[in-house]
């Protein structure tokens, strides 16, 4: 169940909106290494466009550095917001933790 230490895990909870922009930024800036990153958003039910922008920019930058990023989310409404912003085109979105870790280990 526990991810290997070579995978960076960023966990966020609640509603991500403009008020939490700085928190989100610093959480995402923690991982600058080449390790694969799991963004655990299981506890997130909503993200506004500002938060989605941050996630998107982080994922795209990681992509440029060839760092695999997997996003884990289960809330249907949050998944729909992710779809709106097409985050699913910029990074791999999983609803199952095992699958997400498998993907990150494989890449």
């Amino acid at each position: 169940m526990n991810p290997e230490p070579s995978i960076g895990v960023i966990t966020l909870n609640g509603e991500l909106d403009i008020a939490r922009k700085d928190e989100l930024r610093s959480a995402l800036s923690v991982t600058q290494s080449a390790h694969p990153v799991l963004i655990d958003l299981v506890g997130v039910t909503y993200a506004d466009s500002t938060a989605l922008s941050e996630l998107l920019r982080f994922s795209l930058e990681a992509q440029e550095r060839n760092v695999p990023v997997a996003l884990l989310a289960i809330s249907p409404q949050f998944l729909r917001v992710i779809e709106y912003a097409r985050l699913d085109q910029a990074l791999r979105v999983f609803t199952d933790r095992e699958r997400a870790l498998e993907y990150l280990h494989a890449s």
Partner: protein, 512 residues
């Protein structure tokens, strides 16, 4: 922190000073009392000493007088002294014990023995007339009396020494007392100084806190004023930029509504627009800038102009988005933009559109439930390599396309229920409401309450044609009135029309 330490030091010094005062006071009092007591005892002892000496003198004088006169009355002082002397001697011994002068107690014992010897060997011999050698008796009596007085003198000498010691002790007491007063006073002074320092520090801290509070208040006022100003500017910008009249076409009915966020900080960058591009077609766009305030309003105005100028070159929706995306990606830290651009053709009832991270358009067709159309690609400004796609939808006459910004569905922060409410509101539209469809949808969803976020809704509806028109659609003249696009620019759009709208509705055009 520092003030707390100061307070602790102060309290300690104060307690020590107080304790020193109390204990020192008691000690000095006790010592002074013992000096006074000892002095009284020495005085009493001396009195007793003199009383004993007087008794002895009375005895001797009385016996000598009797020896000369042989009259009994001369012996009265002798008898009285014989009675009082033992009492006085006992008392004297007790007092000497109190003064812890044990050698003097021994001296008193010796004097008592000498006196007893004098009584038996001199006084009684003389009184009872047992000798004729009165001179001899008197000589030995003189020796005993001298012995007695030596003892007494020794005691008196000791008592004098005690007196002298007492003087020394009281001098010590005085210097002790002076020292004590100095120390206690010093401590109290130190405590007072510390207390003052503490008070000053506390006062300074209080002033500092007050000053900070005042500064914070002033800052807050400034920020609030700036905030208000920003809100006004953002709103004015919104108003100035947005409220362009929507084109009026016989074959396409347009309606729109924009409601700025109630909260000042949330006024942002929503926009919608539509242009008559001739031949019964309109070019439409709706979008949203990430973020709020002046930055978003300004960015909105820029992006919206870009949409217009891109559409002037090439009407292909995906092409327009690709162009704006390139521009947005050039800008450093520019906000992300979600947008839909499209073309509605009232001749073919075809709608072609491209979307960049925007919520899906809704298509309402008579007799069926409203349908959410396909999503597009990433928001504008996210990645240079994003590929935008033109979607083609062949609609029916009387179909209506509903475009909106995320504020419409994210009101409760649950997009699923928001989407459902929107679809219901669209599905419930009556025929009469179609001319003001955007407002009707808004009212159905929000009622009287304002949204948290900016809200924009635009509807694009084909007007059901009369039979004669349907067979033979008539293109509008290029110089149509109420056309917002300048005539010079319009020709460019016209010329690109055929290339921009592919005839195959299912085709998806990829733009590099």
């Amino acid at each position: 922190m520092q003030n707390n330490r100061l307070l602790v030091v102060w309290a300690l010094v104060f307690v020590v000073a107080l304790a020193a005062l109390v204990f020192g006071g008691f000690a000095i009092r006790k010592s002074a009392v013992s000096v006074i007591d000892d002095e009284a005892t020495i005085r009493t002892t001396r009195g007793l000493l003199f009383a004993v000496l007087k008794d002895q003198l009375d005895e001797e004088t009385a016996v000598r007088g009797f020896a000369v006169t042989h009259q009994r009355e001369f012996l009265e002082p002798y008898d009285a002294a014989r009675e009082t002397m033992p009492v006085q001697v006992t008392e004297l011994e007790a007092q000497l014990q109190t003064l812890r002068l044990t050698s003097d107690v021994t001296a008193v014992e010796d004097a008592k023995r000498v006196n007893d010897e004098w009584v038996s060997s001199v006084a009684l011999v003389v009184i009872e007339g047992k000798t004729h050698d009165l001179v001899g008796v008197q000589v030995s009596g003189k020796r005993l009396v001298d012995e007695f007085r030596v003892d007494m003198a020794a005691i008196d000498h000791d008592l004098s020494d005690q007196y002298a010691l007492l003087g020394q002790r009281s001098q010590d007491e005085v210097s002790n007392f002076t020292g004590f007063v100095l120390i206690a006073g010093g401590l109290l002074l130190a405590a007072a100084l510390l207390f003052t320092a503490f008070q000053v520090a506390a006062h300074q801290r209080y002033e500092r806190v007050q000053r900070q509070a005042r500064d914070a208040e002033r800052r807050e006022e400034t920020v609030h004023a700036a905030y208000q100003a920003e809100r006004r500017i953002a709103q004015n910008l919104q108003e100035a930029i947005k409220q362009r009249e929507l084109p009026v076409l016989p074959s396409i009915a347009l309606s729109a509504i924009y409601v700025p966020a109630k909260e000042e900080a949330m006024v942002g960058g929503d926009w919608y627009d539509a242009f008559d591009i001739g031949a019964g077609r309109i070019f439409f766009t709706i979008g949203d800038i990430t973020g709020h305030g002046i930055d978003a309003a300004v960015a909105m105005s820029r992006v919206r102009s870009s949409v217009l100028s891109a559409a002037l070159r090439d009407l292909d929706p995906a092409g327009v988005l690709a162009r704006i995306n390139q521009e947005q990606c050039e800008g450093r830290d520019w906000p992300l933009v979600t947008a839909i651009v499209g073309v509605a053709d009232s001749n073919s009832y075809e709608i072609s559109y491209a979307s960049a991270g925007h919520p899906p358009p809704i298509l309402l067709e008579p007799g069926v439930d409203p349908a959410l159309l396909e999503l597009g690609s990433l928001p504008l400004g996210a990645s240079k390599s994003t590929v935008y796609v033109t979607h083609h939808v062949r609609a029916v006459p009387d179909a209506m396309l509903v475009l909106y910004t995320d504020g419409v569905v994210e009101q409760t922060r649950n997009v699923i229920t928001g989407e459902r409410a929107l679809v219901h509101a669209v599905g419930d539209l009556t025929k009469a409401e179609r001319t003001e469809a955007a407002r009707a949808i808004y009212d159905r969803i929000f009622g009287a309450q304002a949204g948290v976020d900016d809200i924009a809704i635009m509807t694009v509806a084909f007007s059901a044609p009369r039979r004669s028109d349907a067979a033979r659609p008539v293109a509008r003249p290029a110089s149509a009135p109420a056309d917002p696009i300048p005539p010079t620019a319009q020709s460019g759009i016209e010329s690109s029309r055929n290339a921009a709208v592919p005839s195959d509705a299912t085709q998806r055009r990829r733009v590099a």
